[in-house]
C-alpha cells in the first residue's frame, strides 16, 4: 500500500456513486463488525441475498488489500476464497422469513518472484511498488488494450518517481525526476500510456534528452495539450526488457540534432490531480 500525500479526498472521474446508485436501491441492510483477535475479524451482514453476497465480495477484497506485505523488496499477490459456508433455517417448521449462515473467508498468497515481472507483458511496474500486495481475481476498469500495465492516478505516478512537473519537450511529454523519467508513448482516446526510464543508478542523473527516449515509438496527437492529462486515465506499461539502442544505428529521426521548434512547456501537479 502507498499513502498518498493528499490534503483532501481525490477527485473521482470514472464513477460517480450518486448516479450509479440509481441502478440498485439496496435499502435494508445492517452491518456489524468486531476485531476479535490479532488475526480474526468478524462481520455480520443482514439483508437481502444480493446485499449479503455483495458484502461477501467486498469484505474479501478489503481483507485482501488492506494488509501488510511480509516482503519489503518484492511483492505478493493474494486471492480470497470461501473456505466454509454453512446455511440453515432457524425455525424450518414455520417457514421463517430469516435465513442464517456463517462463512469463512480464506486467502491464498503467491510471492511474485524476481524476474517474474519481466516475463509478463506490461508488468514491470511491480518494481515501482516493492512490498505491495496485489489483489487478484477482482475486476478493474475496462480498457481497450489488454496487458498494458498499471493504471494509476497522475498524482500518484508523480509521487512514486518524486516529481511534480510534466514538461512538453518538442513533441515529447515527460515527467522527470532525478534518476527516473516517465515519457508518454501513446495517447488513445482519454487513455495516456507512459513508459518509465531510469538512469540505472540512484546517484546518476537522467537527462531530458536521454538516449533511451530515442528508441521509443511515440504516438502523441499533434497539439496535444498538457492540460488534457488532468482528465485522462494513465497507464504505466514500461518493460525492463526494452531494447537498448545505445551504440547501434539510430534512425535519423531521433538524432540529437538541435530542433529549433523544441520549447519547454510545463504544467505542475497538485494534489487535486491524484
Amino acid at each position: 500500500m502507498l499513502i498518498l500525500p493528499l490534503d483532501h479526498p481525490p477527485q473521482r472521474r470514472a464513477f460517480e456513486p450518486g448516479l450509479l446508485a440509481t441502478s440498485f436501491d439496496a435499502t435494508a441492510g445492517i452491518l456489524t463488525a468486531r476485531i476479535v483477535s490479532s488475526s480474526l475479524t468478524t462481520v455480520e451482514a443482514t439483508g437481502s441475498p444480493y446485499f449479503v453476497s455483495e458484502i461477501a465480495e467486498q469484505i474479501s477484497w478489503l481483507a485482501t488489500t488492506i494488509r501488510s506485505c511480509p516482503k519489503t523488496q518484492s511483492s505478493i499477490s493474494c486471492e480470497p476464497r470461501v473456505e466454509i459456508l454453512d446455511i440453515f433455517l432457524p425455525n424450518e417448521e414455520h417457514a421463517t422469513t430469516e435465513v442464517v449462515g456463517s462463512c469463512k473467508i480464506s486467502f491464498d498468497f503467491h510471492e511474485i518472484e524476481d524476474g517474474e515481472e519481466t516475463s509478463v507483458p506490461g508488468s514491470c511496474w511491480t518494481a515501482l511498488l516493492p512490498g505491495s500486495i496485489l489483489a487478484r481475481g477482482y475486476p478493474i476498469l475496462r480498457r481497450t488494450e489488454p496487458n498494458s500495465g498499471l493504471e494509476i492516478p497522475l498524482g500518484a505516478m508523480a509521487f512514486l518517481i518524486r516529481s511534480r512537473q510534466v514538461v512538453k519537450w518538442g513533441e515529447r511529454i515527460l515527467m522527470k525526476a532525478f534518476n527516473s523519467m516517465l515519457a508518454v508513448t501513446r495517447v488513445a482516446g482519454n487513455v495516456v500510456f507512459w513508459h518509465l526510464l531510469s538512469s540505472g543508478s540512484p546517484t546518476e542523473r537522467i537527462s531530458y534528452v536521454d538516449l533511451q527516449l530515442d528508441g521509443l515509438d511515440m504516438k502523441i496527437p499533434d497539439g496535444y495539450p498538457l492540460r488534457a492529462l488532468e482528465g485522462s486515465r494513465h497507464i504505466i506499461g514500461w518493460c525492463a526488457n526494452a531494447k537498448e539502442f545505445c551504440g547501434e544505428s539510430v534512425p535519423i529521426l531521433y538524432t540529437l540534432l538541435p530542433n529549433s521548434e523544441r520549447r519547454f512547456r510545463s504544467t505542475y501537479i497538485d494534489s487535486s490531480c491524484v
Binding site: 445492517i30 437481502s48 444480493y50 477484497w61 501488510s68 421463517t96 462463512c103
Partner: protein, 263 residues
C-alpha cells in the same frame, strides 16, 4: 440464464410462452410456500436467447438520470430498459398488471441484475481467475436454494439473510503501522491499493475501488471500515445501510448511510 424479469411486455411474453406450451402467471404464489398444488403444471418462463440479448443491449449505460418534477413512484424508473422509446408503443397497446410489473421492477433481484449488466461495460476481469464472481455466485446460489428465499411474493415481506463472516484479518495492524502517515479517518481516501493481475492492474484508493465495483452497496462497508479502524480492538461497531435516493426536481443526490456506533 433464466430470467423472470419483465421484458418489453409481460403480456407479450405470456403470448409467446403459450405459443411454446409454457404457462406463465402473474398471480401471487400461495403463501404456504408449497411448490406443488396451485403451481403444479406451471413452468418457469425462459426468455428466448435473441430476446434476452436485445433486452440486455437495451439496458441504458451509466448516464446522468433526470426526472421531471411530479413523477410519482408508480411510474416506471427512467433507467428501466423495458421503457425505451422503441417499446413504448407496444407498452401502450397491451394491457398490463402495473402492480405486478412495479413489484418485479423494484425487487432486489431485478435491480441487482440491472446493476450487474451496467457494470459489465465498465469493469472487466484482467485474467481467467474470477474470485469475486465465484464468491458472490457461491453465496447467492446457496442462499437462493433456501426455501424462504427461492421465491418472492407481494403478499409477504422479503425474507432476510443474516450471515456471519469470519475473516483471517486484522485491519488495525495495518492502520497502526501506517498511522503516523495517515489518520484512520482519511485511510480510505489516501491509501493506494492494487487490484488486477501482473500485466493489467489498477491502483486506486479504497474508496475509488469500492465505488467503481459496488456502486450501490459499497457505502455501508466503507462506513463500517471507518468505524472498525477507529474504535479500540474488541469493541463492536455497526452500520445501518440507509441508501436512499433523494429525487429533487432535476438532479439526483446521494445521501451517505447514517452510521451509529454501538458497544
Amino acid at each position: 440464464m433464466r430470467i423472470l424479469a419483465p421484458g418489453p411486455s409481460i403480456e407479450h411474453h405470456k403470448e409467446l410462452a403459450e405459443d411454446k406450451g409454457v404457462s406463465i402467471s402473474e398471480k401471487d404464489d400461495d403463501d404456504d410456500g408449497d411448490d406443488g398444488g396451485a403451481r403444479s403444471g406451471r413452468q418457469t418462463f425462459q426468455k428466448p436467447l435473441d430476446m434476452l440479448l436485445v433486452w440486455v443491449d437495451s439496458v441504458e449505460p451509466l448516464t446522468r438520470i433526470t426526472r421531471e418534477p411530479g413523477v410519482t413512484q408508480d411510474e416506471p424508473p427512467a433507467t428501466d430498459p423495458t421503457y425505451n422509446t422503441q417499446n413504448q408503443s407496444v407498452e401502450k397497446a397491451l394491457p398490463r398488471d402495473s402492480d405486478y410489473d412495479l413489484f418485479i421492477r423494484e425487487s432486489d433481484a431485478y435491480q441487482w441484475l440491472l446493476s450487474r449488466i451496467r457494470q459489465h461495460s465498465q469493469i472487466a476481469y484482467p485474467e481467467a481467475k474470477h474470485s469475486m464472481f465465484e464468491i458472490g455466485t457461491h453465496l447467492r446460489d446457496r442462499l437462493r436454494a433456501q426455501k424462504p428465499l427461492s421465491k418472492i411474493s407481494r403478499r409477504r415481506p422479503s425474507s432476510q439473510v443474516r450471515m456471519k463472516f469470519d475473516v483471517n484479518w486484522n485491519p488495525l495492524l495495518v492502520i497502526n503501522e501506517k498511522s503516523c502517515l495517515c489518520p484512520p479517518s482519511e485511510f480510505i481516501h489516501k491509501v493506494l491499493v492494487l487490484t488486477g493481475s501482473l500485466s493489467e492492474a489498477q491502483a486506486t484508493t479504497v474508496r475509488e475501488y469500492v465505488d467503481q465495483t459496488w456502486p450501490a452497496t459499497g457505502a455501508p462497508i466503507l462506513g463500517l471500515l471507518e468505524q472498525l479502524i477507529s474504535v479500540p480492538e474488541g469493541r463492536e461497531c455497526s452500520c445501518t445501510s440507509a441508501l436512499r435516493l433523494l429525487l429533487s426536481n432535476a438532479n439526483i443526490t446521494f445521501r451517505p448511510p447514517t452510521t451509529t456506533q454501538s458497544i
